[in-house]
């Protein structure tokens, strides 16, 4: 059933692309229904996973290109299901936050849905070739979403984003083809790769290709610079997806293909990855502290939070890895929410993201519900207990402490810097000035100077859904950990974790 999360958005997207209905209303309702259907499927299949003993559910496995041993092999374990759930939530809320897209609406939603389909495909593929095909399929819609509907320096941001992604996937492709070339019987079945003991010298050079290739998309320092520019240039729904889901593609690929299949390589390179991750955490937070553009703050905070995912991966123990996956989910929800507030609720009303200008507007009084949602969201992002961010980052830090206390301490410093930029941006964006200050008139291009439209129902609903998710996971993390931990204990990750668990 999970496979329909790929087929439904793909069909809906292609139908919109080929028929191009003129009515934006039709396009957005079709997308909303498609996203709702995937969310329904994701929740139902998640329910089936609890208590099930099988660690891996095969959805479909048929030969695709038998001459090269390539299969159409979709399957799911707890990690996939968690990320599928995240994607479907982000997609649904993304459509809600794009409710006001009128310009070439049917194309916008078509590309949005095709991107989603590619993302679902990556999370559900258990054939490396298939996974890679879905991974690249997701690249092109991103370009057009950003270049056509984006804002600040959109063509530059879009091209940078796409070229980084494509260079990353080029690295992965090198590794993949190298493995294909040394296997006596060609196959791309991940289970077979996981059981093949590749020579250590081979793993040592293939692992960095595959890991770094994926980690480019996860925003690993020093390959992160596409992320802030791309997020800023993207339209709201696209930045929600980019930060919320697409960066997770990279982290997921790094874990699933890079680390699980080449454990020797992972163990050798883990300290290096850990250092890069910590640099990303601290660097991202410090840069976010001095940004003048509201969206850049959130963009750099994404780099910092994704650093925790990578740090969790580099810890190479069960606590750290499950924390990393939990952080993928948590950051997906929280970043989506923050980008939604900045892009949709604030920018579409004020037409500025300059923090100095916003400070004079008194947004807390003009759009109080946006201020409330943002306030809660930024606390969630800081890692206040009760929200998902706290549980996830705590686990990562504990895991990292076992691996290297120095790294854990430095990452802790990154959290402090995170508190600083969060409070600063909250203060500057919403809590300064008053609605009567002249700053409004200067920037507001729409009707009704000095006033803003109230938060609309789709926006409010989207915000509430995301807040609820982060709260549920924060208060009862077992709802996801019960899926993630069994998956990490499965034979698939045995090569990676076994020597350390004992």
């Amino acid at each position: 059933m999970l496979a329909w999360t790929i087929y439904i958005p793909l069909t809906a997207g292609l139908a919109l692309l080929l028929t191009r209905p003129r009515s934006a209303v039709l396009a957005r309702w079709v997308s909303l229904l498609a996203a709702l259907a995937t969310a329904g499927i994701a929740i139902v299949s998640m329910g089936n996973f609890y208590g099930s003993t099988a660690h891996l559910t095969t959805i479909v496995q048929v030969p695709w290109i038998p001459q090269l041993g390539i299969q159409y092999y979709l399957a799911a374990d707890g990690i996939s299901v968690t990320l599928v759930l995240l994607t479907s939530i982000a997609a649904f809320v993304g459509v809600l936050f794009s409710w006001n897209v009128e310009y070439r609406a049917s194309e916008f939603f078509a590309l949005f849905l095709i991107l989603i389909a590619g993302v679902f495909g990556v999370f559900l593929s258990f054939d490396v070739f298939l996974l890679f095909a879905f991974y690249e399929l997701a690249i092109i819609p991103k370009y057009f979403l950003v270049a056509i509907w984006g804002s600040t320096r959109r063509e530059y941001g879009a091209m940078k984003l796409v070229l980084y992604s494509f260079l990353g996937s080029a690295l992965v492709l090198v590794g993949m083809i190298a493995v294909y070339a040394v296997l006596p019987v060609p196959t791309f079945d991940m289970a077979v790769w996981a059981q093949t003991a590749f020579p250590r010298s081979f793993q040592l050079w293939v692992f960095p290709f595959i890991f770094v290739g994926f980690a480019v998309l996860a925003g690993m320092w020093p390959f992160h610079s596409w992320a802030p520019t791309g997020h800023v240039a993207a339209p709201t729904a696209a930045s929600m997806l980019l930060a919320g889901v697409v960066m997770k593609l990279g982290a997921y690929g790094a874990l699933r293909v890079g680390m699980a299949l080449f454990p020797e390589g992972a163990r050798y390179w883990a300290p290096w990855i850990g250092w890069l991750a910590v640099i990303g955490i601290v660097y991202g937070a410090l840069i976010a502290l001095v940004q003048k553009d509201f969206k850049f703050v959130i963009g750099y905070s994404s780099v910092s939070h994704m650093g925790f995912v990578l740090l969790g991966l580099a810890s190479l123990n069960l606590v750290g890895l499950s924390g990393a996956v939990l952080q993928m989910f948590s950051h997906g929800i929280i970043a989506g929410l923050l980008f939604g507030v900045v892009g949709r609720m604030v920018y579409d009303r004020t037409h500025t993201r300059d923090l100095e200008a916003l400070q004079g507007m008194g947004l807390a009084k003009t759009i109080p519900s946006a201020a409330a949602i943002f306030g809660v969201a930024i606390f969630a992002s800081m890692g206040i207990p009760g929200f998902s961010g706290f549980v996830a980052e705590m686990q990562v830090l504990v895991g990292a402490w076992h691996a290297s206390p120095t790294l854990a301490l430095l990452a802790g410093f990154g959290i402090l810097a995170g508190v600083a930029y969060s409070l600063r941006v909250l203060h500057k964006s919403f809590l300064g000035g008053s609605p009567s200050t002249p700053a409004w008139g200067k920037h507001d291009r729409g009707p009704g100077h000095g006033k803003a439209d109230p938060i609309s129902a789709p926006e409010g609903l989207g915000g509430l859904i995301l807040l609820t998710c982060t709260l549920i996971v924060g208060l009862y993390p077992a709802c996801l950990l019960d899926l993630i931990v069994p998956a990490l204990r499965s034979p698939f990750f045995e090569g990676l974790l076994r020597p350390l668990i004992k």
Partner: protein
């Protein structure tokens, strides 16, 4: 030689005979029956007839199970050479379909006839395993193309392109013949398989290496590999649409097949080595250098082009480089990936040329600005162009993606494995570079609004159907590559 033997020979070359007969018939029909008709009717009927003949030839090949060898490698029919012939004819049909509404010349019948003759040359070429035959077929395939390149006599730039093409081509042919004569001198035979046997006993002496180098240089001209690519941009930019399509697609496929066969069969004893640690003289290092130079020069120069046709020409140089990678790395197993790649590349480049010429006919220029807002003015054509260019860039699920994967995978699955890793890494990174310029064109198509003229484009119905069919097959072959692979010899 008895007459029975001749009849058997005819059976071996029946598909080519059909095409040659069609080439003559087109001339006669036009002369006898269509003299008084309007030029567009003449070109329509003529090209439909030519397409029909080609389809008949394909049908004939699909019915025939004939295999075997005639003479000292004059025609060697196997399952894969028959497939290669069919693919050549399919690409020729693509080029012929683009000539349906050609109205730049009153001599349409001659135009079509030359296209068919060139096709027949390519068909002979893909089954030739004899030095002399290879040379003759190359000339038979190329001479009509020189004429076709400047068929529009009112166009001075086309004349310039054709002269360059002819001069370079003549030079390259001289190189090839000289190289072949040296190979013949060392071995005393013209058949490729015997050459390999004899060469095994010869040490890699300087004169032999000169022979190999010269022959390969001639082939490199045909496939437009750098540094023998200088004719390509001018010809691609100025030749009439069908001629450019034929040069870029059909002729490339034929030349690649023969280059693969020549390298795999004749030069196997002197393959040499070009791995990171050690180099030994032979065909592998030569081809590796050609491949590397083509990929670097083609892609980097394409970045700076503003004319879309020139951009496609430089990208063609780089695609020649990708295909040469596998011939350098693993000639014995190169045929299947090269055929698949050259064929799907041919489909995509014919389609891209067709759309570019539609825009060019409308605006009189193929500069990128002419493509602004194409997605609003001709949505289906814009979508097809997206498919063609992304397939060239190698984005799944289009054919170019699987094609590249198959090429590079086969190049590394050599013995010993991973010998040419450095070249494959270069190729993969260069293909990431190529995405930039393909996206640059697509940016004009999809992102920028139309500047002044917002009218829908007027596209002849046959051209439109051809383009959509090409796009559909690029997509279909990308999703279902097994359809072609099933018919290829696999390791």
């Amino acid at each position: 030689m008895s007459s029975v033997e001749y009849l058997k020979w005819i059976e071996f070359v029946a598909p080519e005979t059909i095409v040659v007969a069609a080439a003559l018939a087109v001339l006669f029909i036009d002369r006898l029956a269509l003299r008084e008709q309007a030029p567009n009717v003449r070109s329509l009927l003529g090209s439909l007839f030519a397409i029909f003949a080609c389809l008949f030839s394909i049908f004939w090949m699909s019915q025939s199970t004939l295999e075997g060898i005639v003479g000292p490698g004059i025609v060697h029919l196997t399952g894969s050479t028959t497939l290669a012939k069919q693919l050549v004819v399919i690409l020729a049909i693509g080029a012929l379909a683009l000539a349906c509404d050609a109205n730049f010349t009153p001599h349409t019948a001659e135009f079509l006839s030359l296209l068919l003759l060139s096709t027949s040359g390519l068909m002979f070429l893909v089954s030739a395993e004899n030095l002399l035959m290879i040379f003759l077929c190359l000339e038979l395939a190329t001479l009509p193309l020189y004429v076709l390149a400047c068929f529009d006599k009112t166009d001075k730039r086309a004349a310039e392109g054709a002269v360059k093409y002819f001069l370079f081509g003549g030079m390259a042919a001289a190189f090839t013949v000289y190289g072949m004569s040296l190979l013949y001198g060392y071995t005393g035979t013209l058949a490729l398989s015997e050459i390999a046997l004899k060469l095994g006993a010869v040490k890699p002496e300087p004169m032999l290496l000169v022979g190999i180098t010269m022959t390969l240089a001639g082939f490199a001209f045909k496939i437009a590999a750098a540094p023998f690519h200088l004719w390509a941009p001018d010809v691609y930019q100025t030749a009439p649409l069908s001629a450019a399509a034929m040069i870029a697609a059909g002729s490339k496929l034929g030349s690649f097949v023969v280059l693969t066969r020549f390298t795999a069969l004749a030069l196997a004893p002197h393959a040499g080595k070009a791995s990171w640690e050690s180099w030994l003289p032979g065909s592998t290092p030569l081809l590796a250098i050609l491949a590397g130079a083509s990929m670097i020069i083609g892609n980097l120069v394409a970045l700076r082009q503003s004319s879309v046709r020139r951009l496609l020409a430089y990208s063609a140089v780089s695609h020649a480089g990708y295909m040469t990678v596998v011939i350098a790395g693993n000639p014995a197993q190169a045929l299947a990936p090269v055929l698949y790649y050259a064929f799907t590349y041919g489909l995509a480049i014919i389609g891209a040329f067709a759309i570019v010429s539609v825009v060019q006919n409308h605006f009189g220029t193929d500069a990128m600005q002419a493509f602004d807002g194409l997605c609003a003015r001709a949505p289906s054509m814009a979508l097809c162009l997206l498919i063609f260019l992304l397939s060239l860039a190698g984005i799944p699920p289009l054919a170019g993606f699987f094609g590249k994967f198959y090429l590079f995978g086969a190049a590394l699955r050599s013995t010993p494995a991973l010998d040419l890793l450095w070249l494959v890494i270069l190729a993969i990174f260069m293909s990431a570079v190529s995405l930039f310029y393909y996206l640059k064109v697509l940016k004009h198509v999809y992102v920028f609004p139309a500047t002044a003229d917002k009218q829908p484009l007027n596209i002849p119905i046959i051209l439109r159907c051809t383009i959509i069919l090409l796009a559909a097959s690029v997509l279909f072959l990308g999703i279902m590559p097994s359809i072609v692979l099933n018919r290829l010899p696999l390791p």
